[in-house]
């Protein structure tokens, strides 16, 4: 198996798996229980919070609450803040290239709850234009949500500059979806008032995510109940998962320079091969993250090529819909100016540090072969 879909989910690290198994077995008590066993579980939970905040250098300014993943964290960050501060203004600014968990949460706020949502376009490099953000901001804006690294094409937003514009408006909070950035592209995490991510993208387990938020921010909770997680996210916390995520995050941040060097090596081998093939065209901008690249099949159907690769146990991702009736081209690629054929037949390759150059070469060879064998669209 050659697994090149790490942006979708990556293999948990040994450390994360071992600590999860150990804690799930030895400290299974409810972290909210007042007895000794519960207090012990709670100690691990608090330790996990500290480890993450410290690794992100947010321990002074931010708090953290654990969620089931980035989708839930994004929903809580957006809806929780929008509902809490609706009296201050009802405008939210975001971007067309955001992940569906942001876009669809905002769509609900717009359609069901009367918020005004402005979606910024991305430029030809897949980034949010500073000038566009400046134009969109006004005194009614209470929330801006922009991602650090784009999940489809790997473009990197200049989070710090974007934050400086948002923070010229004292009522506006800045949410950064860092799901594809943690462990891959470092930035000044503290410029995000709300920071969300998911553990399984950097070696943690599926089912664990987090929302880091400025200590002054309050939310209207989406899940009410026993007031766990400061009352903002009720329900028994998955302490072993949260703890495993904290270890994976520490490791990912510590190893970031080494991992990135490895990713660059892999990416340069990959892009060299992609550029040599006239049937392919790279969509990612020049300065995209080396962990992820997006390219289009100029003559073939992405779902078919994905299936052919899958048969050979090479796993990549495609945006393309598998149904001829449901044409659903990538909005990000359309927004960058690519035509529908190209936006509909894009493939994403994403690395983990354990991928090898040999795997990349095998992928390239197999892909070229498949492209000559499989009928064009």
């Amino acid at each position: 198996m050659i697994y090149l879909d790490n942006a979708a989910s990556s293999k948990p690290t040994r450390l994360a798996l071992d600590s999860y198994a150990k804690l799930a077995e030895l400290s299974f008590a409810n972290a909210s229980s007042p007895h000794k066993a519960g207090r012990e579980a709670n100690r691990y939970l608090e330790e996990a919070r500290k480890r993450i905040l410290k690794a992100l250098r947010l321990e002074k300014t931010h708090s953290i609450l654990f969620t089931s993943g980035a989708t839930e964290a994004n929903n809580l960050a957006l809806k929780g803040v929008a509902f809490q501060y609706a009296s201050r203004g009802k405008k939210i600014v975001s971007c067309l290239a955001e992940h569906s968990s942001v876009k669809n949460a905002l769509k609900e706020l717009q359609d069901q709850f009367g918020f005004e949502v402005v979606y910024l376009p991305v430029n030809s490099e897949g980034k949010v234009d500073i000038e566009e953000l400046k134009k969109a901001m006004d005194s009614q804006t209470i929330l801006v949500s922009l991602m650090a690294v784009n999940n489809e094409i790997g473009s990197i937003n200049d989070v710090k500059t974007l934050a400086s514009i948002v923070h010229q408006y004292p009522k506006a909070y800045f949410h950064v979806d860092a799901t594809q950035a943690i462990g891959k592209e470092a930035f000044e995490y503290s410029c995000a008032d709300l920071l969300t991510f998911s553990g399984h993208k950097f070696g943690g387990l599926k089912g664990n995510g987090a929302l880091c938020y400025k200590k002054t921010i309050k939310f209207l909770p989406l899940a009410s109940g026993g007031d766990q997680e400061y009352g903002y996210r009720s329900g028994t916390v998955d302490m072993p998962g949260a703890y495993a995520m904290s270890l994976a995050l520490e490791e990912a941040l510590k190893e970031l320079p080494a991992h990135k060097a490895k990713a660059k090596e892999l990416m340069s081998a990959l892009e060299k091969g992609l550029k040599e093939n006239p049937l392919l065209a790279i969509n990612s901008p020049k300065d995209h993250t080396p962990f992820l690249v997006n390219f289009s099949l100029l003559k073939h159907k992405a779902s078919v090529i994905l299936e052919a690769l899958s048969e050979k146990e090479i796993y990549v991702s495609s945006h393309s819909a598998c149904d001829e009736k449901k044409v659903d081209p990538s909005e990000t690629l359309l927004c960058m100016g690519y035509d529908e054929g190209r936006a509909d037949n894009a493939i994403r390759v994403s690395f983990s540090p354990s991928n090898t150059v040999e795997e990349v070469e095998t992928f390239l060879q197999t892909l070229s072969q498949i492209l000559t064998e499989v009928k064009t669209r």
């Binding site: 779902s303 078919v304 090529i305 994905l306 299936e307 052919a308 690769l309 899958s310 048969e311 819909a321 598998c322 149904d323 001829e324 009736k325 449901k326 498949i370 499989v374 009928k375």
Partner: protein, 397 residues
Amino acid sequence: MTGKHFMIRFGELSTKGDNKKQFIQSLGKNVRHALKDFPSLTFQVTHDHIFVGLNEEDEEAVLSRLQEVSGIQRISLVLPVEKDIDKIAELALELAKKENGKTFKIETKRIDKLFPLKSYEICVKVADHILENSSYAVDVHNPDVTIHVEIAESSAYVYAHEYPGCGGYPLGMNGKVLLLLSGGIDSPVAAYSLLRRGIKVECIHFAAPPYTSEAVIDKLKDLIGVLNVYQPKIKINVVAFTKLQEAIYKYVAEPYCITIMRRMMLRIATKVAKKCRALALATGESIGQVASQTLVSIQTINDVTNFPILRPLAVEDKVSIMNTARRIGTYEISIRPYEDCCTIFKPKKPKTKPKIEECEFFEKKWDWASQVDECVSSITSILMEDGIEKVEEGEAL
């Protein structure tokens, strides 16, 4: 025999003369299998009925399972009683009182011809008892409640309710057919129609990876899982069709591609049917629905085989097929968005009146016969049993 029983009647079997015994045995076996999740049931198979003793099991759950067993005409919830007219009358009164009605009628069936009273006399005696002891009036034409009395060899039975079965013949009595299963809406409904008549089904599916996704196979497993209610074990033969299909698109003019593809499918299916001892092929075709299902197309496609082809949906309209699919629970699975080998490379203008001679002209262009043989020999099969894929020993997780 005491307590509530379901009495199962065979209907169409009564015309079967010498084969009747075999039919009843087969039905008995199928009934037991359909009810295997209810451990307290008791079974008694007689010449005229099958009795299922309820013994505390859930009446409605048992009934709904029975209504899905082919070969059953009617199902009644009966109470056995001693063959004594006073006791029969008393039980009939009890049942009538439980019903919500003003008028009633008694219907008697006297199978045991040695019983001292004739059918009419039984009716009168029982009706008298009810009239004297309740506020019911008799209405023989339009009664609110009909109380049935049946005098069988071993016991008498009284009941007020009768439910329809799905009819047809016990599964397997009419042999097996090989059904072309695409995964769309129609073919599972065709399978259902066959199963209801007691015709066993084995499936053949044409997969064209990578043009079709592996997810289609999962879809087929789910569809067949639903149909396992009617036939507990169903085999799906998956044909690797890619090379032949690519050749078709290479050698054949676009409007004829689908026609020739269907001809190849029938050639392969015929060979597979002979191998698996199916007595006929079956398809979900509905006349006129698409280009390959016009009568002219059907004739041109059918020309490659002399094997009988059953088309249970031939004259059904799409709406009624869809309604059936929804009712039996295959619709939601069928509409999952995966392409099958009939929708990939769909010609822009498929021929609606393809000619046999034209097909033969295209088919001279390459050696399809060896590709057909290759398809037959490369088949992989999946066995679905009671909704779960049966994996060979050692392969299971």
